[in-house]
Symmetry: C2
Subunit: 290 residues, 2 copies
């Protein structure tokens, strides 16, 4: 059995948020669609990464020769859900030249003085590139909502606005892959404790993380609304169980790779006469002119 | 014998441009400092990459906690010298979150309407980051000189200006590693032919590459002046033979890693009471609040 066949269900189908999605009962320790175990997953990851990497290069080449398509991977998740690990271990498998990475924290005062999409638009991937957002415009209906940084009528209006904005992006040639990494409360506690126990992890811990943890129910509610209101046909959400890091990395690699496979970017056809250029090159000789 | 010991000379010493450097007699097929062969080099590369990657994370952590230090890798070289391969295979070994990558081509008209350092300064790495310039401000004394895009007195003034500007950068906490990949004329011809023979490489070929190749002596002269005039104590040039791709990747990895080892970044000390935080975390319990 080939490793690929251990995906008994396409993870895009297994993880896509549909009308019946219920965050409260979602198993954050699951491995939907993958019939193998951790070892199988870890063995398959680099192999699949190679394929993803070649597809990325084709997309990049297409973009260099006038193609307009790009991919945007939006990563959301609470502290310790593993967003950084996805960037390092999944995005890190492709050529850095093909990636446009941006991180968005709680909006700064300057950013809040602009429209909330202002800082986001500046970071959209150019044609041919895979954009990666470590947090995103969804912070404007998550932390901004939970911490009441704007009035309710303001954030309530944003779901529709985001849907319309993403639809335009998709029409412009960007394939949007929205991934929410969902870690369980217990696992988050363990990962925070690990950051406190290891001096090489202290810098990753912020006392504010406990404050955010204390608002768990409000964040779950805000996430549930995000999934309910912004998982569109143009830009669906994939909710990925994050208690098993090996699974979330494997699943996101698979989603990215299958998306690229469907985009099926082709090596651009030369816009010059190849045989003529070969002759011209041969004529330059093997020894440097003096 | 440990693989590391196959570096009989620190590549920074073996490759640094000193007063006696002579580009005309430089062996572009050499492997200065490395006593092993290609297999040894390829076996050692990922191992050394792991070490580089951990050091990069420490530097990143330092930058997150107020440290001001950064590293800037400047990559120069003629077409096919392998700059892209260095980004992919060397820079690609570290976490994308720790890298700030920028590419500079022939300056656009808008860029030429500004001071030539304008577009460069915008891309300098923030604290904690490894900046990577695929081409750089040196284009302004290379292609700009060869193609006479500005008058001679203008480009002649730039060497001193660049030295002064880099000195300021270094004083501000940036370690600058300037690497020129030097490919031979014959090898460049072969690599260009490969791009013409393989349809998946056609997009990397530009008919203008033959025009640039025809200006080989002028570019060699311009490079020789760059090395003679801008290899300073603050920011020396390393000229790397590029006919053996495995060697150039190995050497640049080694230069980067040794530089990071000397910077010796430390995990930041927690600015909060760790034991108090552990207690507070335990108090949040294992079950999500309702």
């Amino acid at each position: 059995m080939a490793a690929k066949d251990l995906w008994s269900t396409d993870p895009r189908d297994a993880l896509r948020v549909g009308p019946d999605f219920d965050l409260a009962s979602f198993d954050r320790n699951g491995q939907p669609g993958w019939d193998g175990d951790k070892d199988d997953g870890q063995a398959y990851l680099p192999e699949r990464g190679e394929e993803m990497s070649e597809l990325q290069e084709r997309l990049f080449a297409e973009g260099r020769e006038g193609g307009k398509r790009s991919v945007l991977l939006v990563l959301q998740g609470l502290d310790t859900a593993g967003k950084g690990g996805i960037v390092r271990h999944v995005v890190g498998m492709v050529d850095p030249q093909g990636v446009a990475l941006a991180s968005f924290g709680v909006p700064t005062e300057e950013e809040r003085s602009h429209h909330y999409l202002w800082r986001i638009e500046k970071e959209l991937p150019p044609p041919g590139r895979i954009g990666v957002f470590d947090r995103s415009h969804y912070e404007d209906v998550l932390v901004v909502r939970v911490d009441e940084l704007v009035p309710e009528d303001v954030w309530r209006a944003r779901y529709d606005e985001i849907n319309a904005w993403e639809k335009e992006l998709v029409e412009g040639g960007t394939t949007i892959i929205k991934v929410a990494l969902m870690v369980s409360y217990a696992e988050q506690g363990e990962r925070l404790m690990e950051r406190l126990e290891r001096p090489d992890k202290h810098w990753k811990f912020n006392p504010g993380d406990l404050d955010t943890r204390s608002k768990w129910p409000a964040f779950q509610e805000a996430y549930a609304d995000v999934f309910r209101l912004t998982s569109t046909e143009d830009a669906p959400w994939y909710v990925v169980p994050a208690d098993k890091k090996w699974y979330s990395r494997l699943a996101i690699t698979e989603i990215l790779t299958r998306t690229l496979e469907e985009l099926d970017p082709q090596w651009p056809v030369a816009d010059f006469d190849v045989e003529e250029m070969k002759k011209a090159l041969v004529a330059t000789g093997e020894d440097a002119p003096a």
